[in-house]
Symmetry: C2
Subunit: 395 residues, 2 copies
DNA sequence: TGAATTCATCCAATCATTGGAGTAATTCCC
DNA sequence: GGGAATTACTCCAATGATTGGATGAATTCA
């Protein structure tokens, strides 16, 4: 660890190449000369680094730009669509989605696979990826890396799966290694699903750019993905964000975990359905769309039940805000289907109970990113790994 | 921000010089040859960097070592005691302590100042420092930096004081600037007191080294200092760790903040005194030493009251553990005077309510660092700033 | 006493960035 | 329309930092 900070000369070039890549991504299309100014590198250096990026199929020249004054027009550089690929899987208890992105984050290939036998998960992931590459008529050395998004407890330092309550037990913990041996030399990363949700919202989400963000996944259970200082944060044992069993009511109802007044026991979807049932408003379907309809129709008893849930959620959010102090909290999961009425309830309650004046600067919203948050976040993780993004190091 | 990652050639040397400094600090006394192996730098480079460090009075040759086998004996390098200084203040509502450390973290000068007129705080800090340097007969260019530890809300990005409920209002927010103009060119940093407590425990604390740690200051109020991934964490608005008003009991007693069942309202010292009073066990003195005595004497009613407090504390700690997932939680503040009986109560309760198996790996203890945690942490912050430690960058 | 070993330094070479000269392309202005 | 000015990019020699190999110094072992 202590020798991490040592800079070996060959790293300098790589580091600057990555910096130039990030600058192109952030300001595309952009000229060499502008890159030199932004990076504070000499034009010579930028030219040579750009030449490398072009040779690696990451960047291309894309025409000429305009100058506000006189002088030669700049050659604009942009990322090369379809030049290299970022693979990301979104795995759940039923199967997985595989997305192949290019560095522009356009989906170049998509496949959804229902898994019957999870003991073959590793092979299925590898085969799917191979199929997708074959369909694109691209060589696998065009792959920059793979990220597997998982609803599981992970040891990120050793990149191993510890356990999961969502995946069938026969999935085991070796499937990332199966993928690794199928693609030797290509980084295969694993990351927690909630964390990827949060990361995708941070990187691709609307609103002002944030460095600290919490994604709250409210469904049957409640889990959180946490970003602090622009980095994915998973805690020392990989279980940061396991907020479901945070105590919000010492004398509340008993939870399956043995404690009382757990956040997910009182704020999750089952608790809402219980509140609806108590009021004689049972929604037969599992989904909450019917509840949303009742809500919009103005049913006062349904409103009451949702308002109670909003209060619980606000209390839990307030707890995590007092601890993590993010700029943005994103609410996702099944509960988000309740839409505006729920969100407004949470916001109003938060304004009442939160610490002033910080609470007024907090942004609480639903997801604003189109597409699959897990694979988007996963692709960004792969990009970070390849080009030294904020969450990279370690390697 | 994006041009941060660019490596300019002159940074390479500085970065490696810093790496060598850290290695000397970590493995002292140590030879050039061993440094080269550890840093994976060539012997030549190490020699030249060490020569610079010696010229800067940071390092000195300190004799010869032994080789397990044959061969020339190595010249051992060590930090130079009293060569350069790290200044750190611990400011509270009554005055401040000033400590001058050397890079070995030996206190070279200590002064305690009671402040009558806080509007002159900046000048008092500067004068105290000048007096200390004069007494040491050292030039102020030997100062590597200053850190002011404050019980206040801070904007660390702009290094400004936002507000404080502990400091008298006449202290204002400009006193760091007064110090800055008194010592031009010397970095004057500010940092939150709780965060420094946590940082000092992380860096100097006993037990296995941790990368994620929470320091819980339990007194009249409850505040937390948080370290994640070895970095001081203060959140986006500087208020991370304001756990005092975390809800632990939605139907609990009303708090001054307007909510019910706040952590500090139920787990702080006043709540304990209330519990004692309810049982006819009033400790007249403010301090908890008398309570500790009753506890040790085996008074069952006092034990009961302390056990209740331990349960509340465990619930709050469990909440923050589920969110931040640290390896270590350190309990400090007035409440720590209750010693073992309280700690055991908290641990036992945590084992019952915490998520398995993670909770069994969590270490909960009192402070294990002798000396002033705030100035120790502050001195480390100054060192980080000067030599690119984990929490440094930005500059 | 000599061979082997380890530590540290000197020196020429290497790698990456830099500054300046040189070329290319475009606008301004006469 | 053509020259001056301006901006973009590239070639080339120079600079700064690290490196590898040779050299010298100090020590142990046989």
């Amino acid at each position: 660890m202590s020798d991490r900070s040592v800079v070996h000369l060959q790293n300098v070039k790589e580091s600057n190449r990555n910096a130039v890549f990030h600058l192109i991504r952030a300001h595309r299309p952009v000229s060499r000369s502008e890159l030199a100014k932004r990076a504070r590198l000499s034009p010579t250096t930028v030219s040579s680094l750009v030449a490398e990026l072009i040779a690696e199929r990451l960047v291309r020249e894309t025409g000429v730009g305009v100058t506000s004054t006189s002088g030669r027009k700049p050659i604009l550089l942009d990322l090369q669509p379809g030049g290299r690929y970022l693979a990301a899987f979104d795995v759940d208890g039923h199967g997985f989605v595989s997305h192949l992105y290019d560095p522009l984050f356009d989906v170049r290939s998509e496949e959804t696979v229902a898994v019957a036998d999870f003991s073959a998960l590793g092979r299925l992931l590898a085969d799917t990826l191979a199929r997708q590459f074959a369909a694109l008529d691209a060589a696998p050395d065009r792959l920059l890396g793979v990220c597997i998004g998982l609803p599981a407890l992970l040891d990120l330092e050793h990149q191993t799966v510890l356990s999961s309550t969502v995946l069938p037990p026969e999935a085991g913990v070796d499937f990332p290694d199966t993928l690794r041996s199928a693609y030797p030399g290509i980084p295969v990363l694993i990351e927690n699903e909630s964390t990827l949700n949060a990361y995708a919202e941070l990187v691709f989400g609307a609103g002002r750019p944030a460095r600290d963000l919490v994604f709250l996944d409210v469904g049957t259970g409640i889990g959180a993905g946490i970003i602090t200082g622009g980095r994915r944060f998973t805690g020392s044992f990989g279980k940061a964000g396991e907020v479901g069993h945070m105590t919000v009511d010492l004398h509340g109802p008993e939870c399956a975990c043995g404690n009382r007044g757990c956040f997910e026991g009182m704020g999750g979807v089952p608790a809402l359905q219980r509140r609806l049932a108590e009021r004689g408003r049972v929604s037969a379907r599992n989904g909450l769309d019917a509840v949303r309809a009742d809500l919009d129709a103005g049913d006062p008893l349904v409103r009451e039940a949702v308002a109670e849930t909003a209060e619980i959620l606000a209390a839990g959010i307030n707890n995590l805000v007092n601890l993590v102090d993010p700029q943005v909290v994103v609410i996702g999961g099944e509960m988000a289907r309740l839409g505006g009425p729920l969100l407004e309830g949470v916001r109003a309650r938060l304004r009442r109970i939160g610490l002033k004046p910080g609470i007024d600067r907090l942004e609480v919203r639903f997801s604003s990113v189109p597409g699959n948050l897990v694979t988007l976040g996963g692709a960004q993780v792969v990009l970070d790994r390849a080009f030294g993004g904020p969450g990279a190091p370690l390697g």
